[in-house]
Amino acid sequence: MVESTPTNPTLAIDVRGARYVYPTGNVVALGGVDLQVAHGEIIGIIGQNGSGKTTLTKLFNGLLKPTAGTVIVNGVDTAKHSVQQMAAHVGYVFQNPNHQLFARTVRMELEFGPRNIGVPEDEITERVDEVVEFFGLQEFIEEHPYRVSFPVRKLVGIASIVAMRPPIIIFDEPSTGQDHNTTHIINGLMRRLRERGTTVVCVSHDMPLLADVVERVIVMKSTEVIADASPREVFADQALMARTNLQAPQVTQIALQTVVPLGGPVALTPAELAADIAQRRGKSARRGRTSSVAG
């Protein structure tokens, strides 16, 4: 029932001059945003609450329609399609899985989305089996979604979207309320989705998470996009970080104060910075190992 005739197949998301003003008044939630995301990109959106992040992502799946400008997602104009129609093109993983889950079993939960978008029954089974495998949910498949632990419930929430096989998936604050272990699993999932060709958009306050997975960061402040660059460029821009009250990951801050002035990389992970430091020490490190390394 969803006709997908991509008008610009090269872009996953094409936002031009998009504004959003609340219908109840003159509060501008988004003021003139331009954004192009190619298929297969993995991007992060950062900014304080109220900067317009959520408004922007809600434009992507048509939950909000732009009051001016256009939002074309997977070649489909969101203004001309309902949220239900957009569901086949873009998946939206809400922050709190409790807002989403309702079925009696995990399996039924996973079947819900694909059935809604008109996937044939035998293919639904196949898709569910695949996401169960992908997410490692085998032991929970007949459980009630509210009987499994909160981290597993989060994974079920993500899996229920992935089962719809949308070419674009939005993650809203995937690490909120989750421990490091679960965050780590979600990180890996986003990376694997991207490897399958899915376009991934991740809205988050969790800078180490973004440093770890995304290749492009959109910075928002006061309803506008104020920067759009690689994580390295964004985290290295100390004026930008100060202006938005955001903090680069600790290891990036250490890199900025040590190896970056010497021409080193804006490291995003401890391993990366360690490798650079070791390389700089190079032979001298090996020579110095007997003398005075730990001065």
């Binding site: 272990n181 040590t258 020490r281």
Partner: protein, 288 residues
């Protein structure tokens, strides 16, 4: 030698209707004025441990508790929660779930009203408490119209008004944006430093805890597996990794430099500044 303000003595607790204990043979004590960080995976027993301190476990939630929890010289299970609340203030991860009143002033007033504090005293205490959490002048604002950080500070003010000696915060910033997180942690640090309040924070933000905490307690499957200074605990990068917990990136960096490259032999830094100083020296040693 001052007495501990909180003592857990061989505490084991099982929730009603479950088989597996949520806490297993927990023993530790906390001195007045300590800032304690509690780490652990979801389901490790962190929240349950916090609820034992103000008596919600077992008084309100039932279940089977053995061992004793002593707070301020009182055996917790002998007193109703509202009695313990004069000693222990507790706030949770979702500030909005803790709001029940039409205005900020009334939110703060609720506990005082229940305790029968006179109107004249409330008129003094409420603005003082709001000022303490940086919400001076917010008296008439609706709690639901505040930002997340402001709501959480209001929730804290609502318990502070009752002048507790202990503040327990259960993942107080997990629903907040970076500005909100900063506001809450700055405020907790101020209460601890300036007022000598005992602060217990259940938290995943290890970089922040490395900076503020005097002590770190690590729980795993209901047991205390580590208990020491942040320096002692966060230096054990591999042990924490085995527990699937995060460590400050500074500590991880130094550990990699030590084990993989043989470049780190001194103490493991847990905050940014010493890491920068050490690495600068390390790099300088090559140049010089």
């Amino acid at each position: 030698m001052p007495e501990p303000i909180i003592t857990f003595d061989n505490v084991t607790f099982t929730y009603p209707g479950t088989e597996e204990p949520a806490l297993r043979d927990i023993s530790f004590s906390i001195m007045p004025g300590e800032y304690v960080a509690v780490l652990g995976l979801n389901g490790a027993g962190k929240t349950t441990m916090g609820l034992c301190v103000n008596g919600v476990v077992p008084t309100m939630l039932g279940g089977d508790l053995t061992g004793t929890v002593t707070v301020g010289g009182l055996t917790v299970s002998d007193y109703p929660v509202r009695e313990m609340s004069k000693l222990v203030g507790m706030v949770f991860d979702n500030p909005e779930f803790q709001m029940s009143q039409m205005s900020a002033a009334e939110e703060v007033a609720l506990g005082l009203e229940n305790a029968g504090v006179a109107y004249e005293d409330m008129k003094r205490i409420i603005p003082e408490t709001l000022e303490l959490v940086g919400l001076a002048g917010f008296e008439e604002r609706s709690p639901l119209g505040l930002s997340g950080g402001q709501q959480q500070r209001l929730a804290i003010a609502a318990v502070l008004a009752m002048a507790p000696q202990i503040l327990i915060m259960d993942e107080p910033t997990s629903n907040l944006d970076p500005i909100g997180k900063q506001e809450v942690f700055d405020m907790a640090a101020k209460l601890n430093r300036d007022r000598g309040m005992t602060v217990i924070v259940i938290e995943h933000e290890v970089e922040v805890m490395a900076r503020y905490a005097d002590r770190v307690i690590v729980l795993d499957q209901g047991r205390i597996v580590m208990n020491g200074t942040p320096q002692e605990i966060f230096s054990r990068v591999d042990d924490l990794a085995a527990l699937k917990l995060r460590v400050p990136e500074a500590a991880e960096l130094a550990t990699i430099l030590g084990t993989d490259y043989g470049l780190w032999k001194g103490p493991i830094p847990i905050t940014t500044e010493p890491a920068v100083a050490e690495i600068s020296e390390l790099l300088g040693a090559k140049n010089g």
